[in-house]
Point group: C2
Chain length 111, copies 2
Amino acid sequence: MARAATTSDAFNALAERRRRDILSYLAMRERSVTEIVDAMEMEQPSVSKHLKVLKGVGLVEVRREGRQMLYKVNAMAIRPLHEWTSTFERLWKHQLLGIKERAEANNARKQ
Amino acid sequence: MARAATTSDAFNALAERRRRDILSYLAMRERSVTEIVDAMEMEQPSVSKHLKVLKGVGLVEVRREGRQMLYKVNAMAIRPLHEWTSTFERLWKHQLLGIKERAEANNARKQ
DNA sequence: TTGACATATTTCTATATGGGAATATATTGA
DNA sequence: TCAATATATTCCCATATAGAAATATGTCAA
């Protein structure tokens, strides 16, 4: 078997940096494909293909306005990622606390 | 160009479901490869390869104990994902609020 | 040293990609 | 109807998988 399809879920779709960049750009507001192309400095066909993947997993929504296609983020689709990572939050906070404590113990020794 | 390597960053490494499962399992505590194999119901070589990818991006750490290799999560490496998704939190909360308001307006109309 | 156990690596293969280039489709205004 | 604008699709190709199978490496205990 090969890697899971980019369109299989949000995790796979967002593995690609360019698609995360596009989503971040869309976070401000709805944008046309041309606006995305200009902002991202990518070829238009590439942008269209990335948008297709994002749409495939429900990360963006589209509506037509004349000849333009206006894309916007569907933030709800990002929640599964946020929630999965949140289950580890306790762990890294614990890690950070350990680092802080060791640093303070070090400082005390140096005084 | 093809897809970015699974080892290029945490986003790519975690796109694979099996690797997320392994990390979730390790969230409880340090585990040997055999324990992971038994829990995940995967072939041992597959587990070793997934662990190699996870280690490659710093998502796990290993230490040897006799003939066993004990793997544990490095939760810090998950933070970039958490933080990236957090930038959209405001948006989905806004979405949820909208859904709630529409539901309430609907209820009021039906009374 | 040898055998058993634990883990890692190699080889193979089908498959899906991302980008580039070219082209197709859709919509508008004249 | 036609040209211009906006977007999508197709074709090509180098590349990196994940899993299966076989094998290699490392460590201990007797």
